[in-house]
Amino acid sequence: MADTWKVRGGQEKGGSGLAPRGPYIAVITNRTVNLLIRGVMLFSVGVFLALVLNLLQVQRNVTLFPPDVIASIFSSAWWMPPCCGTAAAMIGLLYPCIDSRLGEPHKFKREWSSVMRCVAVFVGINHASAKVDFANNVQLSLTLAALSVGLWWTFDRSRSGFGLGVAIAFLATLTTQLLVYNGVFQYTSPDFLYIRSWLPCIFFAGVITMGNIGRQLAMYECKVVQEKTHQD
């Protein structure tokens, strides 16, 4: 505990000047409750992003005036948003945890504005993958890969982040392959075994984004933990 404490302290100093102590955060003193709240927040962010980005993907094949437009928001299977949300929550909680385990606190650009920028770029990458006409799939995939790595370089720059991102992207791609193979759903024009070749890039960018959000949220917890320790 002493070690983590120190780590947290260091991390704390990195960004504490920027995040003023909100009154509502101070209320959350319980660690589990804090964890729960973070998880719920990450989950909702994940669900929201999944819905919106899925809409982006679906949109291309949707006719202009669908009979009931609202239904197209939930055009994917019902289990899709919860899955994304759960994954987002896990990733978002995993990142700060790994940071503290490795003992290298993430100090690079710990600000909400940076996180927002990251999310915007992530949505932009999705947007590009859905809307921009590429000559062929290789070009699309390469472009997206470059964009994803650029995202990591701009907003993360930590080795742990990169490693985790690659690992999770690989796992997620594998899972998707399995799902498609078993016929749970399918892609309209698969070009990489059963899926789209840009999927890993999108997964990677998503992992980086959610990790960023999770780390930012974890900073509040650090603060609370620290205060508690001081009180005791």
């Binding site: 009154p23 609202i70 600000e111 920028r117 770029v121 921009v132 472009t143």
Partner: protein
């Protein structure tokens, strides 16, 4: 590396010069930038406004061929989208039908039943029309657009819209194109209206689709002309078939005065429609964008106008984007991307980071520099990183450019130009704005600082303040300025805050206004009153298109009497030709024009040429969308309309009449002007009804809001202009909209009685003891403010012989003064109660004349002696023998002659204490001096009903607070008692010579405990010992630590079983109270200790003359943290669970985060009031000011309220402030005490 270093230096120097330039000539540079922006944005004027409106292109019908798929030459003429065949050709047959002549027997329904009935014949005609020539036989079936299925969601339309076969719509669709259904329909209007959507609608309605002409005018025409169209969509264009159809229809139903142009077909291209499905991601990106901007601008800090700078930053980014688009357009690149979609990404890519970095850098330069230099320094500090970032971003974007995807390339191009122009704007526009802002802030700072500096003595004289290490440069967190009222926010109850928020933002009005505007907009858009049609007609009249045909206004007067009949010859229609084919116009002589206003009149004007223009622009997309055909990014070709005129005779109308028609329409005809007036009257009536209802609703709403206002708002809302006795100061706490809270909420209670300034204050929550310069101790009830006891100066009998002691006092003081070798004035002051603050910067009370002038001032003393202390006189003189006291005093003073003029250890909490001075050894006092007057009270503590008073003579006295009798006194020590702590039954006294004495108070109770204190009703007694008057109290010295400190002990605090002392020898010592054993000696300060805080939770903080604040761990004696907070002494310290509050000689109150040691914020105090502060609850801070106390919210640093203590307290600063248990504050200013209860603030916070 050298190259890099060189480059870096060059860049830095360049930025420095640029910063100087910008700060020197702000206005010309801003003008120059504005001109640049405008110039670059000028090309944007040529771009079409974004929108989804359709675009038209007109070609001639004659030589029309289907445009080829490939783009052809001369692109200037034909638009880019005009390629390939259209989705459909639209042929409309515009039918105008009227029953003429109008018969008075006819009911209004007749005006449209029979004309509508004719649609079936026409449809039949059109469907069966066959054109045969050499190339074969063509019918409509072959040419028309075959539709298959309606969209599944449109079940309700199924009965009406054609489901299979030709897309041919007409009003006949209401009756499934079957004449029988039409004839048997009892209520045509109802049939038409039952398909209307309820409520507001934005897209084309079914009626519009079927009738093909907009609005209700077709049914409720004043002219009684029924207009409708038969619309057919053709998939291929066959000129010969169409022309034969046209001629056939014209031949059947000639329109005589029709001169419609028939040689132009219009191609309408529809842009991509944004559906909700696309809107959601777009809205999401915008939300993210705004969040980004919000979080970015939130970081701008320490500037004069935060919002101004944030606005400037946003303006910088936005105008750089506009510039980029403008420049790209200027050089021939037309944007093809959807601007609204890529805009957020562009903003995010360009970003606000540089602007923030710039601001931070400039702000963190030394404040005392000139503005120019600050800007230049800030710029050059960040120049390297700015350039590096910019190069990186450009590199990334260039990589993006080489993806060779057109859309990405375009995006990158925009981004590059945007980045460059953003850099330009940052350097010129934003830097200049920043310099202006910084200058403004410095001016404001200067205004605020000047009086403070003037009031302060010159900075510490060098020899007096030896300082080992200069304090490190202070961190510069933001400082809360108290100057402008706008900065002072009130903490009000939630209910009031909500109401104030509503009032401040005028939310209700705005919502109503916006609602009205939206409502009007919807009204205009959906057009129930035909306003848009009217406008369109007006426009088309004035447009060049209309000049081709006859001017509309010219037509009307020419044919007013075109109808043969008049009201005079009603019944017999001259030639009621049953066959419409042969019917023609203009038969019969023109009747008298004035007599026949309601004659149906069919006229063809230029506005009929393109009826579809008056339809909603969504008309065609929605029609086609029903069949799952999108028009987005495609076009349709609209062929010239075929006019058909139908004249029906009244007989025919009567024949087709349905039996229910006669009774169905409400006959509103009143007299001669029959049908049409009636219907219009009816519509007017509904209009009036609606208007009246709306008015009533509005009035009701206003009344409701008024009631709400009366209920929720305080009475004096908005009356802040009322001249109020206490509210005349400029810096009253007002919030933004000028509302000041009522003052009556907290009213201070003034406790008067002391004739001189109050020196010591002590309280245990129920009682309050104060001691003034005159040596008089008064005991007050802390609840009611009543003066309970007066203990006059030591050695004087507090009895009825008041005049006697007073005179003696005076005369003896003179006696003291005469042999004094020191200055006379000081000697006289001694007579008044003491304080030879030899050389100390003691505040001289100007209003206090020297001794002999004191007589009138002392009269209240006498009076109170008489009036308030009758019971005490009846008491036996136990232990208060005057003679004995004098005797003792004599002896004592002869024993300790060295202490006559102690080197200024004035009572604690005294501002500007002279602790920095090395203790001056008191001059040898002549032994002949009278003994007692100069032994003043230096320290006082109150527990239970015992007052412990430490005197300058080293004597410790215990007084009964209620009775005013001396219970015990101890004269073991000889050195003056500088500080006292009274805990449980122990008293710790710190002496001037650095020794520490522990006393034990023993009580021998003969009768048991009796409660004396307070009024009997008070429930909550603090668990402090109470002593009855019968008790024998003895005070024994248990232990004396002789050399506790090398130098005089300045601070003594006791809590949680620990006694902590601070001394001028730079150390803090911690003792255990029980066995007076020294636990730790804490070293870490580089100056004398001036303030110590310890509480029950063993938090120990100390502040010293070096401006440093140390937090210690009492259990281990280790230093937890060490911060430099003040320029000059730390005068007082308070800790809460989350923060440390310190005040210093620099009149600054700083609030530190206890865990991180980061300064949260600081509060600039008024001069001379820096030391007075107290914490009421975890989040409520009280500070003293000039004649007032202020309440602050600790969490936010907001000023909650300021309470003025008295009318005449302008010059008096609150020097001491004591927080009692029952949420009361006692503070002294001058000779008065003030008791302030703050229940209201407490309940708001809790």
């Amino acid at each position: 590396m050298t190259v890099r270093e060189k480059l870096r230096q060059k860049i830095s120097a360049g930025f420095y010069r640029h910063g100087l330039l910008c700060a020197s000539y702000p206005v010309p540079i801003i003008v120059f930038t504005a001109v640049c922006i405008l110039t670059c944005c000028y090309p944007l004027l040529k771009l079409p406004l974004p929108g989804t409106g359709p675009v038209e292109f007109t070609t001639s019908v004659r030589d029309y061929t289907v445009p080829s798929q490939e783009p052809q030459g001369d692109p200037g003429e034909r638009p880019e989208w005009y390629r390939g065949p259209p989705v459909a050709y639209i042929q409309q047959v515009l039918v105008k039908a009227a029953v003429s002549p109008w018969d008075s027997k006819l009911v209004p329904v007749d005006a449209y039943r029979s004309p509508l009935g004719r649609v079936f014949a026409l449809l039949e005609e059109i469907r069966n029309h066959v054109h045969s020539d050499s190339s074969g036989i063509r019918s409509l079936e072959a040419l028309c657009l075959q539709v298959t299925d309606l969209l599944p969601g449109l079940r309700r339309m199924q009965a009406v819209l054609p489901e299979h076969g030709c897309l041919l719509v007409s009003p006949g669709n209401y009756w499934q194109n079957q004449r029988e259904l039409f004839d048997s329909d009892p209520d045509l209007l109802k049939t038409v209206h039952q398909h209307e959507p309820k409520g507001l609608h934005t897209s084309a309605t079914l009626r519009d689709l079927l009738f093909g002409v907009p609005g209700k005018l077709s049914l409720y025409s004043r002219k009684r002309v029924v207009t409708y169209t038969i619309t057919m969509a053709l998939s291929s264009y066959d000129a010969r078939f169409l022309s034969s159809l046209r001629s056939r229809l014209k031949q059947l139903h000639p329109s005589v005065n029709c001169s419609l142009r028939e040689d132009h077909m219009v191609h309408v291209h529809f842009k991509e429609e944004i559906g909700i499905a696309e809107l959601i991601p777009l809205v999401t990106t915008y939300i993210i964008l705004f969040a980004y901007i919000y979080f970015s601008t939130r970081k701008i800090d320490m500037v004069k106008s935060k919002w101004g700078l944030a606005l400037a930053a946003v303006v910088t980014v936005l105008s750089s984007l506009l510039m980029s688009v403008g420049l790209c357009t200027l050089f021939g690149l037309t944007p093809t991307l959807n601007g609204g979609e890529i805009f957020p990404y562009l903003v995010v890519v360009i970003g606000l980071e540089n602007v923030l970095v710039l601001t931070k850098s400039v702000v963190s330069t030394p404040v005392d520099l000139e503005v120019k230099l600050r800007i230049a320094q800030g710029l050059s500090n960040e120049s390297w990183s700015i350039m590096k970032n910019m190069a990186t971003e450009l590199g990334i974007i260039l990589i993006g450019y080489f993806t060779l995807v057109p859309a990405i390339q375009e995006f990158c191009l925009f981004a590059v130009v945007g980045l460059v122009s953003d850099f330009f704007l940052q350097m010129f526009f934003f830097t200049t704005v920043l310099s202006i802002d910084i200058r403004r802030m410095e001016l404001a700072d200067l205004n605020r600082r000047l009086p403070a500096e003037a009031g302060m003595p010159p900075p510490k004289p060098g020899p007096l303040r030896p300082r080992e290490t200069p304090p490190p440069p202070r961190p510069s967190p933001h400082t809360i300025t108290l100057q402008t009222p706008a900065f002072r926010n009130l903490r009000l109850p939630k209910r009031l805050r909500v109401v104030y928020f509503l009032a401040r933002t005028r939310l209700a009005q705005r919502i109503i206004m916006v609602g009205t505007v939206i409502w009007i907009g919807i009204l205009v858009y959906t057009d129930p009153a035909g306003l848009r049609t009217y406008l369109a007609a007006q426009v088309s009249e004035q447009s060049p298109l209309g000049e081709a045909g006859l001017p509309h206004l010219g037509v009307a007067p020419v044919f007013p009497g075109g109808d043969p009949t008049s009201t005079l010859s009603v019944l017999p229609a001259p030639e009621p030709t049953p066959l419409p084919e042969n019917q023609s116009q203009g038969h019969g002589p023109p009747g008298p024009a004035h007599a026949v206003p309601p004659i149906p009149q069919i006229s063809w004007g230029p506005e009929d040429e393109e009826v579809w223009r008056r339809l909603s622009f969504r008309h065609w997309p929605s029609l086609f969308s029903y069949y799952n055909i999108t028009l987005a990014k495609r076009y349709i070709s609209i062929l010239p309309v075929i006019p058909v005129t139908l004249h029906l005779s009244p007989q025919e109308a009567l024949e087709t009449r349905h039996p229910q028609d006669t009774r169905h329409p409400p006959p509103p005809q009143l007299g001669p002007p029959p049908g049409p007036e009636g219907t219009t009257l009816q519509t007017d009536l509904t209009l009036y009804k609606v208007a009246a209802l709306g008015l009533a609703a509005g009035v009701l709403l206003v009344l409701l809001l008024f009631c709400l206002y009366r209920v929720l708002c305080p009475r004096n809302y908005g009356q802040n202009g009322v001249p109020h006795g206490r509210r005349r100061r400029g810096d009253l706490p007002c919030d933004d909209y000028g509302y000041s809270p009522p003052v009556s909420e907290i009213s201070p209670l003034l406790l008067r009685g002391h004739s001189m300034d109050i020196e010591c204050l002590a309280s245990d929550g129920m009682l309050l003891a104060s001691c003034c310069l005159a040596g008089q101790i008064r005991v007050w009830d802390a609840q009611t403010g009543d003066c309970l006891t007066v203990i006059p100066n030591h050695g004087l009998r507090r009895s009825s012989s008041s005049g006697g002691w007073e005179q003696r006092d005076g005369w003896d003081a003179v006696g003291v003064a005469e042999p004094e070798s020191l200055g006379g004035v000081e000697g006289l002051e001694v007579g008044g109660g003491l304080l030879g603050a030899g050389g100390a910067r003691r505040r001289v009370i100007p209003s206090r004349p020297a001794l002999f002038g004191d007589q009138p001032d002392l009269t209240p003393l006498i009076d109170t002696n008489f009036s308030e202390q009758p019971p005490s006189q009846a008491l036996p003189d136990s232990g208060f023998d005057f003679g004995g006291l004098v005797e003792r005093a004599y002896q004592e003073h002869e024993a300790s002659p060295t202490l006559a003029f102690p080197p200024s250890p004035p009572p604690p909490q005294q501002r500007r204490r002279s602790l920095g001075d090395p203790p001056i050894l008191p001059p040898e006092r002549p032994a002949s001096g009278p003994p007692d007057w100069d032994s003043s009270v230096w320290a006082m503590e109150l527990r239970g009903n015992l007052i412990a008073a430490g005197r300058s003579s080293g004597k410790l006295e215990l007084w009964d607070a209620v009775e005013g009798s001396l219970r015990c006194s101890n004269e073991d020590g000889v050195s003056g008692i500088t500080a006292l702590a009274f805990l449980n039954n122990r008293i710790v006294a710190a002496r001037l010579n650095g020794s520490l004495d522990f006393f034990t108070v023993d009580i021998n109770k003969p009768l048991g405990l009796r409660q004396y204190r307070g009024t009997p009703g008070r429930g909550s007694m603090p668990p402090s010992p109470c002593y009855s008057s019968e008790d024998v109290i003895s005070c024994q010295l248990t232990r004396s630590v002789q050399c506790a400190h090398q130098k005089p002990i300045t601070v003594l605090r006791a809590a949680a079983g620990r006694v902590v002392t601070g001394s001028q020898d730079h150390t803090v010592r911690v003792y255990r109270l029980e066995d007076s054993c020294c636990l730790f000696t804490l070293q870490g300060h580089s100056g004398g200790i001036t303030a110590i805080y310890i509480d029950q939770t063993m938090v120990l903080a100390s502040g010293g003359q070096d401006g440093a604040i140390c937090l210690w761990d009492v259990l281990t004696g280790s230093r937890v943290s060490h911060v430099y907070g003040h320029r000059g002494d730390v005068t007082s310290l308070v800790c809460t669970t989350s923060c440390v509050i310190s005040s210093g000689l620099d009149d600054l109150i700083c609030i530190w985060d206890r865990s991180t040691n980061i300064k949260l914020y600081s509060i600039q105090q008024e001069v001379g009031c820096g030391a007075s502060l107290g914490v009421i609850s975890e989040s409520l801070l009280v500070t003293g000011g000039q004649g007032c106390v202020s309440f602050w919210d600790l969490n936010y640093g907001d000023l909650l309220q300021t309470v003025y203590l008295g009318q005449s307290s302008e010059g008096q600063g609150v020097r001491q402030l004591l927080v009692l248990d029952n949420a009361a504050i006692v503070c002294d200013f001058g000779s008065e005490l003030s008791l302030v209860y703050v229940p209201s603030v407490l309940e708001k916070l809790d």
